[in-house]
Symmetry: C2
Subunit: 328 residues, 2 copies
């Protein structure tokens, strides 16, 4: 962490305790940290979030902090790696309060403990604009980094957990759905606010997946990346996509919603492909990690992603998924 004076005080008070147990972080008392490495390299990913764009300025600070870590943990998990630490840069409005900072640091601390990761440094600056955070997350790869490239015709397309809850949770915050129980509402909002990255399952992923990524921009959009980079066609059946009870209740009342959930975003599940001969290993890993895994389609020669409806015909999906740059 650089800087000093007021900034240095902030770092010492709120952030240095977050770096205590990582030897290479040097207690944030240096200008740089020393990341532990393994022979296969360090898997690295980064995300930036902006108040009013990616979170609401009055969202609970703990939640903002935890989501910030979790969206990055989800990326590392989907690459078959085990996260070990991160660097945080934070641009705070000048009127940020010690109370807000303390709560933000509590959120970081809680999820550091939960996921076994450490803070390795960063920077804090003042901004006249909205609070802006950037995390660079680091992980040790498994057998090899799972990539977008690697899917082959004949492989199966799989996804962890359930799809569409995060998007529904965001919609619920904007305008409550009719016909949901209070528990279902809470479930959907929690799925939006506090993603559950599939870290335990992700650590096993490199043993059987031929390709993979995390589902953050919408299932169809993200699968399109695998199709494009692998040079294959993915064919999936809309009815096979796993839904939570809450999402299923809403789809029952509005059948057209099912297709929209496939492009809704904010899922933070892992979509991946697996050769048929490795499906048993995949299922064993899922059982061990207590993670639901569902086969939703197959890999074929060709290009693009086709989503088949109940009648076997391809759906025309209108949602373009979240485009962080253009639409929010």
């Amino acid at each position: 962490m650089s800087g000093q004076g007021g900034e240095f005080g902030l770092i010492a008070r709120y952030f240095a305790p977050l770096a205590k147990s990582a030897p290479g972080a040097l207690g944030l008392l240096d200008d740089a940290a020393l990341l532990p490495t393994s022979r296969q390299g360090v898997v690295t990913t980064a995300d930036a979030i902006v108040a009013g764009v990616h979170f609401l300025p009055d969202d609970p600070p703990e939640t903002i902090a935890r989501k910030l870590l979790r969206v990055n943990l989800s990326d590392i998990a989907a690459k078959g790696a085990r996260a070990f630490g991160y660097v945080l840069t934070a641009a705070f409005p000048r009127d940020v309060t010690p109370r807000w900072l303390a709560a933000f640091a509590r959120g970081l601390k809680a999820d550091q403990a939960h996921f076994g990761i450490h803070l390795y440094g960063g920077d804090t600056v003042a901004t006249p604009g909205p609070a802006t955070f950037s995390v660079t997350m680091f992980g040790h790869p498994g057998k090899a980094m799972v990539r977008r490239a690697g899917a082959l015709p004949g492989d199966l397309v799989c996804v962890t957990g359930t799809i569409g809850d995060g998007g529904l949770g965001l919609a619920e915050l904007r305008a409550p759905h009719r016909g949901l129980s209070p528990a279902q509402r809470r479930f959907l909002v929690a799925r939006y606010r506090i993603p559950q990255p599939r870290t335990r399952f992700g650590e096993a992923l490199s043993r059987f997946a031929s390709s993979g990524l995390d589902v953050s921009d919408g299932l169809v959009q993200d699968l399109t990346h695998i199709a494009d980079v692998s040079g294959v066609r993915l064919v999936m059946r809309s009815e096979d996509v796993p839904l939570s009870a809450a999402a299923a209740a809403l789809v029952k009342a509005d059948p057209g919603l099912r297709a929209r959930l496939l492009t809704a975003g904010d899922d933070y599940e892992i979509a991946f492909t697996v050769p048929k001969r490795r499906l048993a290993a995949c299922k064993a890993a899922a059982l061990k990690a207590r993670t639901r895994v569902t086969v939703i389609g197959t890999v074929e020669a060709g290009q693009g992603v086709a989503v088949l409806g109940r009648d076997g015909k391809a759906l025309a999906l209108t949602g373009g998924g979240y485009d962080h740059f253009r639409s929010r």
Copy 2:
């Protein structure tokens, strides 16, 4: 790089070419990159900059990009490491133009080539506020990472280059100094806008330095970090601090300025300590890297930093150096 659509187009057009020659960057076509590693670990540092705070919104985009890389390269160099790559997250105002982006990417490309580094990924998002950039820079350590800790009584205190030019360059942009030649003005402004990180000298640093850091917040403030973390006292002579011809001309006209330059910031030189028996190795490395190195003081038992004036008495320095969080 995550995201797609408009954002994905931006990345493909302007940023993907910056990742072409680093195998582990995967052409930015994945959600994560694979950093090359060495047995000693990866030296990591991060900086964030905000338009209107750390640079002016109408600064040339090439310059903003280059300074962003260089302040981080300076940190890596001061740790005795050789930078190999970086991750960039960028929050752009919605009205950013393709012309601006192209110029920003040109600046990154020019300095990537100059310093032999590669882009390993990142994220681009939209912001309703000022443009905000965050860089996490990675380097391979030398014999070991040079730290703030390690200075011992008897060591010499040294600094590369000249001190105070960056601060004078910033002041020059705000209100031109009297009595400078046009060339001197250009020199000072360039020292502010385009720091010259001591990367070649830095690569040798771990062979002789007992501690070190880059001078970015003001020489005295930064030396105080070495004193604090090493648990020693640094005693330096104000008259021994190397000045450029332009700075010397201004000090001649205003002798009180000399002390203020010691806390001015934006130097991006390396301050370090070296055991006397290794001074010859240090001077040889400086000669080879064509980097000026000046002995400005000694390490003693005790604490804090004392700056002695011409009369041998300690100066009372009022400048607190730059505090990015409180004062800009």
